[in-house]
Symmetry: C2
Subunit: 473 residues, 2 copies
């Protein structure tokens, strides 16, 4: 990362005050839970996005809900922004402390607290990562299905309503968070939801906090829904003559209701980058990566139907991967698209659009996006969770080149405008963060004012991750 | 219904004012859209619950979103409560205008506006019923799965986050409402959500309005997720030696992840009432009603596994119903439990508890509930959506007998307290309405204050269905 914003923080927290705050926080917690070291500040100034880094004044490492309460109360008293941080895998700048203040690093709250196999539930702290919870669940024959690719923290995934490759079967975070513990801006600790599989009791606060991107409070515990590891998992890939036929085949598969658990499109440009990055030899053609979950017999049946549908659309070279290792190679390839792209174009950062459109509009939207990339002269390919209507333009951009950045912004803007005109959304899974704020008014119309009213009610001093989500430009 | 509250409305709307309001509303809309006729007022004074009826001052029949806006603006100007009403099938008094005012009858807004088969979406007005939308969807090979038993309106189902017998497979309303049009208390019309299958854009307002029971605004349009009618549907029933073994078998079936779409427990007392009401001859034993959805082969496989599990728990007399008519007889029997109960005990109303507990706690919770019914000397049986951990004590009560009512309240209270102690909820699907308000503080703790703050923010004059949900006692 380059061009860190080195300007001094704004007037509420000039440098000497920041040092005083750090001293106070060190006393409130322990000295080793507070850092103003330059490398630590820099590490917390950015995420995986192309957004310009901003240094926090201080980084705090809470180890318990009580620690978070202390920090939040302190922040409230001194009117200092609080921005939760974990793995830093956001693609939209969620964890960048654009108004400086406290970066609240949740990674020491990394315990799997309770596994209840008979209730299909697990209770975790927010700093537990997706891979960690799955490692803990494996011996019970269980798994947590939401898979955004990155080994993100579960707190961060809930905060952004992350989803990913398995959503077509298992839903997004909002479908898999059963209950939350949240520290509110005023230091109160609330529990949302219950352990029951369904409830009609009170407003759905779990649903409100999931996807609120740290703007309403700090998530300190999560109860997540887990699933039995399917008897049979089969991965496959198949190539198609063009984007349109790939997408048509995908939507047809969804229509049949078969047990497809992943349904991923990768375009030739991205396949080429992946091949060179992972030293693989996948055909550099429009490719559909699939995964089937079910019983032995059920998967057989589903695969036969999927093959038939694929063939009708000109699909060829169906390759199956049954063993876990080969399956992992395949999905690692898919998941490494962003890094592959960055490596393929040295000196660039990875910018990703993230629109989601109604299924029937997907072929049209993908074709439009490819046209826009070409017209704007950007370097980019398309990957997509085509079972959900969600796709990304992966674009390589030098973040220090203003002209190039402007080009990329134009691509994003045109892709978003088009998706909205089709009844879609500006972000299917990456969240709003910094990059999608400007589309909130257009997407939500007068509903944005309701969101902003809720924000003001719960966080009247605007200290929780300020400058994000509903903070209109 | 008896003992209608005939006292004059409170000071903000005495009788002569009500008449004047009705005249004004008749001019604002058309005269045939406004009624103060005694029988119309009485019809809108109650629902299917045991709660005491209360007369509205006036009933208004909007025919469009614009009509709703006019009524809501009028209500705001004159500070009159607005209580949406549709089929009146609530079991918790949601539609009873406890503070009088306007009963907003949504049943003229009953059009299926748009079916988009290729997007698996349907757009409806709130007065469309569950059966009506399914009739419209059938020719596309689609269906809307949420089934609370009653032929409820879809607006009412969304407002209470209804669910029912198919939740174990298809989820509750919150999982199947894609987007909403809502008239806010200030007359603004907002759209929540989008047509995309997933979104991380802005706060999840759809999730907030679903289950808000008319306290935040009036739902005027819904986009609902629909599904392909399964290739094969097979209903079955099986009897068990006792409640515990039935529940254990159910939770074991859930654990395997088989394609069971309904999983309903009915106890012997309720089976007896159903037999006498429907002239059926079901064995009067602990019974599990099941339904399997899937492909021919998949259902075969699932049924075999379910039978094996049932047999391990002493299940016997597995009876299958493949044809649609026999299946309907079976499900009508299950759905008529409440009416059967009422008919079986003349002069009584039906009161239903509605707790939902973590799956593993279900045997314990059902056993406890049966003990409580016996100890309190109430007349009641247990039915349950055991795949979700949600069960009901169906209790016959004479609503004019204070001592009997007190007995029933005690049953409810003890059952709720027990469910909460197990990490459950006071209402799995019926909603809070009037009867569960007193448990909101206990269930939600300080989170209730957040809900109340949201209510005050969106409805500062407390005119939208006042006295319900978050209106603590």
């Amino acid at each position: 990362m380059s061009s860190v914003d080195q300007t001094s923080p704004d007037q509420t927290s000039p440098a000497q005050t920041a040092a005083a705050f750090a001293r106070d926080l060190s006393r409130l917690l322990r000295p080793d839970q507070v850092s103003t070291g330059q490398s630590v500040l820099e590490q917390h100034s950015h995420d995986e996005s192309y957004h310009r880094p901003v240094l926090p004044d201080v980084v705090v490492f809470p180890e318990s809900t009580e620690d978070v309460v202390k920090v939040v109360n302190f922040a409230q008293e001194h009117q200092i922004p609080v921005v939760p941080y974990a793995v830093g895998s956001s693609l939209e700048g969620h964890a960048i402390p654009v108004k400086h203040g406290i970066s609240l690093d949740m990674m020491r709250m990394n315990r799997v607290l309770e596994i209840r196999p008979e209730d299909f539930l697990v209770r975790v702290q927010p700093g537990v990562t997706r891979e960690e919870v799955n490692a803990a669940l494996k011996k019970y024959g269980l798994f947590f299905p939401v898979d955004p690719g990155a080994n993100a923290s579960l707190g961060g995934m809930a905060a952004t309503n992350a989803s990913g490759t398995t959503t077509v079967r298992y839903g997004a975070m909002k479908d898999n968070v059963r209950a939350l513990q949240v520290v509110l801006p005023d230091g109160q600790v609330i529990q949302t939801g219950s352990l029951a599989a369904k409830t009609s009791s009170g407003y759905n606060l779990t649903g409100l906090f999931v996807g609120s991107e740290g703007t309403l409070g700090v998530i300190t515990e999560l109860w997540l829904k887990v699933y039995g590891i399917p008897e049979k998992i089969l991965a496959a890939r198949v190539t198609f003559p063009d984007v349109e036929s790939t997408v048509r085949a995908s939507t047809a598969m969804i229509g049949t209701g078969i047990g497809v658990a992943r349904l991923e499109f990768v375009d030739p440009l991205v396949m080429a980058a992946v091949n060179s990055y992972k030293h693989t030899a996948f055909p550099e053609e429009p490719t559909l990566f699939l995964e089937f979950h079910g019983s032995e017999q059920g998967v057989q049946e589903d695969v036969a139907l999927a093959q038939e549908i694929a063939q009708e659309e000109g699909g060829r070279d169906f390759v199956f991967e049954t063993d876990e290792h080969a399956r992992n190679v395949l999905w690692e390839a898919r998941h490494s698209a962003a890094w592959a792209f960055k490596a393929h174009y040295p000196g660039t950062e990875h910018m990703s659009t993230d629109v989601c459109v109604p299924l029937s509009k997907l072929p049209e939207a993908v074709a439009h996006a490819k046209r826009v990339i070409a017209e704007e002269g950007a370097i980019g390919g398309v990957v997509g969770h085509v079972g959900d209507g969600n796709f990304h333009c992966s674009i390589a951009v030098n973040p220090n080149d203003e002209a190039e950045l402007a080009k990329v912004y134009r691509v994003n803007e045109r892709v978003v405008e088009h998706a909205l005109s089709l009844g879609g959304t500006c972000t299917g899974e990456h969240g709003v963060g910094l990059g999608k704020r400007k589309y909130q008014a257009k997407e939500h119309g007068p509903a944005l004012a309701v969101m902003q009213a809720i924000k003001r009610t719960i966080d009247p001093l605007d200290l929780m991750n300020p400058g994000k989500l509903v903070d209109g430009l």
